[in-house]
């Protein structure tokens, strides 16, 4: 998805993991994924660069769809759709 599309996507769950370092954001995503329905989109807010590679890899293994990342001021948002 393009940055513009990601900015307008409807998010069912927002996980703010900006206060944690690796593997914190990944584990926060793991805990939160059980709270949304299949087809829902979740965003993960992180300031840990490792999250940008962790979430796509994790999505690939778990069967979720990685949608992309959007840079914000001092952090970024990663988007994924639950399988």
């Amino acid at each position: 998805m393009t940055t513009e599309e990601l900015k307008n996507v409807v998010v069912a769950k927002s996980v703010d993991a900006r206060g944690t370092a690796c593997p914190g954001p990944l584990l926060e995503a793991k805990k939160a994924i059980g709270t949304i329905k299949a087809g829902d989109v979740m965003e993960i807010l992180s300031a840990d660069e490792g999250t940008k590679s962790d979430i796509p890899k994790w999505c690939g293994k778990q069967g979720h769809e990685y949608l992309g990342a959007v840079e914000e001021n001092g952090y970024f948002k990663v988007y994924m759709k639950k399988k």
């Binding site: 206060g19 593997p23 990944l26 584990l27 995503a29 994790w58």
Partner: protein, 141 residues
């Protein structure tokens, strides 16, 4: 599908390597891996009830002169302690922690109750070898 299995031989009793093990456990938990941890020699000391999360009693494996800076940096970054990492992984996935019987005795621990409540049992070396043979990923830390 059967979950992938990680077998970790945890020899270390140092705060830096225990923290690294905790980070790896986090990754395994996110992947729903089944994890078997075999606590060997120095590792069993860290699992004693009077030590555990008490970083003052845990040495560094490398660069001992950087210890204070390392611990302060972990604190500044709000990184969990090794015990908190292990607890979190146990709450998410199937993690079993086995204390080597010999290692326990070396540090004065004969019974499960002598160790922090992360430990699930005390075992012999055959249990480790069997688990290692069956595992998809083997690590020695």
């Amino acid at each position: 599908m059967e979950p992938k299995k990680l077998c970790l031989a945890l020899y270390t009793g140092s705060v830096d390597k225990l923290t690294a093990a905790g980070v790896i456990l986090g990754g395994a938990a996110a992947d729903d891996m089944k994890v078997d941890i075999y606590v060997l020699l120095q590792g069993a000391r860290a699992f004693r009830k009077d030590i555990g999360d008490n970083s003052d009693k845990l040495p560094m494996a490398e660069n001992a002169d950087l210890r204070e800076g390392f611990l302060q940096s972990l604190k500044n970054l709000k990184v969990k302690t090794w015990v908190e990492f292990f607890k979190e992984a146990k709450a998410i996935t199937d993690v079993k922690i086995h204390i080597c019987g010999l290692a326990g005795k070396v540090w004065g621990g004969e019974k499960l109750d002598d160790f922090i409540d992360l430990a699930d049992d005390i075992c012999g070396i055959s249990a480790y070898i069997t688990s290692a043979q069956e595992a998809d990923v083997n690590l020695f830390i």
